[in-house]
């Protein structure tokens, strides 16, 4: 009789173990005294010390964070615009084309995106002299290209669930389009904007394939550096860095989750109040 919960519970445990045991083992091995990733040589925090002396790794990590910050922000702005357009403008010329084109990069292999961006930047460079050299800007642009799709999809689905009549009411009461956007639409989709931004940030932070095509001198991002270190074996200071990143991300996700649940609760309460006052 009590079979089902046991079964479900073991499924859940298995799933969690599947996801988190590898990360956990990496965290454990970041405290390994030995240089080999697979032999336990006693507890030590020496790799954390080594990490903070390794300028190459720190610079790459800092660069990745800057790229992620810029590309997530721009992608969120563009994605929000596109998402609102696709959800609110019911019919316009080229709507199917636009929605198809927005989602195409989702299924496009990264290698193809990478090569086409590389060729595009080179052509652009020889035609108009910009970008003269690939680097921070081209990497950020490439990441925007990838992540804008995800943001658009999130914003669009959020808006299609919400009620258009609220915006129409505001417009009837004399709000200008900018006021409607600021006071009604954006607050409605703010949780979606936040989760879109977080997703774009994460995508940018671990993107390797496209990035490797569009980087230039002095812009080796963290994932590329780690990937290129594989040739001589990854050193445990990378484990230490990854552990720190996991810790930061965990805190970030917890904060994001807290904000989302709070605003969701407030929204529900507001809606309930609105219904009550209507009645």
């Amino acid at each position: 009789m009590n079979r089902r919960p046991t079964f479900l519970l073991s499924c859940l445990m298995f799933g969690i173990a599947f996801l988190y045991v590898p990360i956990l083992s990496m965290i454990v091995f970041s405290f390994n005294n030995a240089r080999l990733a697979t032999v336990w040589g006693g507890f030590s925090t020496k790799w954390y010390g080594k990490l903070f002396q390794n300028d190459q790794v720190l610079e790459a990590a800092f660069l990745s964070l800057r790229v992620a910050l810029v590309s997530a922000t721009v992608a969120t702005i563009l994605g929000t615009c596109a998402g609102i357009a696709l959800a609110r403008l019911r019919r316009f010329r080229g709507r199917t084309l636009l929605s198809g084109m927005v989602t195409a990069p989702l299924i496009m292999p990264d290698v193809i995106t990478g090569i086409s961006l590389l060729i595009f930047f080179i052509l652009l460079g020889s035609w108009i002299g910009w970008p003269a050299e690939r680097g921070f800007t081209t990497v950020a642009l490439a990441h925007i290209t990838i992540s804008v799709t995800y943001v658009t999809t999130i914003i669009q689905s959020r808006l299609s669930q919400s009620d258009l009549s609220v915006e129409e009411a505001a417009m009837d009461l004399g709000s200008r389009p900018w006021q409607v956007l600021r006071d009604i639409t954006l607050p409605i989709i703010s949780p979606a904007i936040l989760s879109g931004w977080l997703l774009a940030f994460t995508i940018s932070l671990d993107e390797v394939v496209v990035t490797s095509f569009v980087t230039g001198p002095g812009t080796t991002t963290l994932p590329i550096l780690i990937w290129s270190k594989v040739k001589l074996g990854v050193t445990p200071d990378i484990n230490a860095l990854a552990t720190i990143i996991v810790a930061v991300v965990t805190v970030g996700v917890l904060i994001g989750w807290a904000i989302l649940t709070r605003s969701d609760r407030r929204r529900r309460r507001d809606m309930r109040l609105a219904e009550q006052s209507n009645a």
Partner: protein
Amino acid sequence: MKFNRRQTFAALGATLAMPYVRPSWAQAGSVNIYNWADYIGETTLEDFETKTGIKPVYDTYASAEEMQAKMLAGQTGYDVVGHSGLNMPQMIAAGVYQPIDHGRIANWKDMDPDVLAMEAVWDKDNAHGVPYMWGSVGVTYNLDMVKERLPDADLNSLDVIFKPENAAKLADCGISLLDSPTDVIPMALRYLGMDGDTTNVDDYKKVVELLKPIRKSIRTFDNTNYLNAIPNGELCAVNTWSGDYLVARSRAKDAGVDINLAYFVPKTGAPAWVDVLALPSDAKNVENGYAFLNFLMQPEVIAACSDFTGYANASLAATALVKESIRTDPAVYPDATVKSRLWAPKPYNEDQDRAMTRAWTEIKTGG
């Protein structure tokens, strides 16, 4: 929290511009280097900056293919690129690299004539590449594990791996081949007594036949993971590049693993490899590129690079300055006998490339 349009855009603009605010070193002079990760001396870049005031920017690639794709596309912004000698002919034909003025590298006279001769097979008169590190293809054995199973094996011979009865005995302690047809196939051709540079693509079939009966004894085809697998005792007969054996040994030592390793270049012959440094045709800081090459080729500087990478450099004057454990290791600095076994494979044409890839797929899948 009410923003009007102008405030919103101003705040956004400021946020987005922030990452661009950083010290610019372009006017102070820089040199952009593109090479394997950790493939340079530990302090070489800092020393170069202190000595010349030129800021070195060192970027890394994960695979030769990735680097070549980018170089062929052009306009990479790099001034000095580390490149495998074997792949230089295509790059030179495509005009990727500019000729190097040997007169501008003060220590060019120290270059090992043997290494220069090998590099010249891929790059006529060493016109486009400065030999950096070089080495051989061979087999690293875990002596204790191999001796236990094959007490009287001649480790200088590839019989140990290529004879099915030997391979079967070593199967349980682990045989690994390089996942690199351009290294394994020429070596196997020479083992069969054929020309390692054969242009008759039918000869590759004989290599497929040779490897077929031992395929089930080969645990893996791999170029990097053995650096950890050897110290762990997971593999005992490992086809590797010369320097990897030293890396594996030092890893074992770091981890406190007691292991008895030895590296052999097969007596039937093995390909040599030479990594070169080249200046792209569209390099912007050619002067600084030369300054870097000139600095790097000083005996004490290049010796420090060998100390860190564990590979032999091409400068004869530097040999005496290299760490003794590396300098005296015949796997890294081969003696005359071993050197005579090495040859620089001739560049492949497209037919060979295709046939080799096909043969390699057959070998790996057990055809």
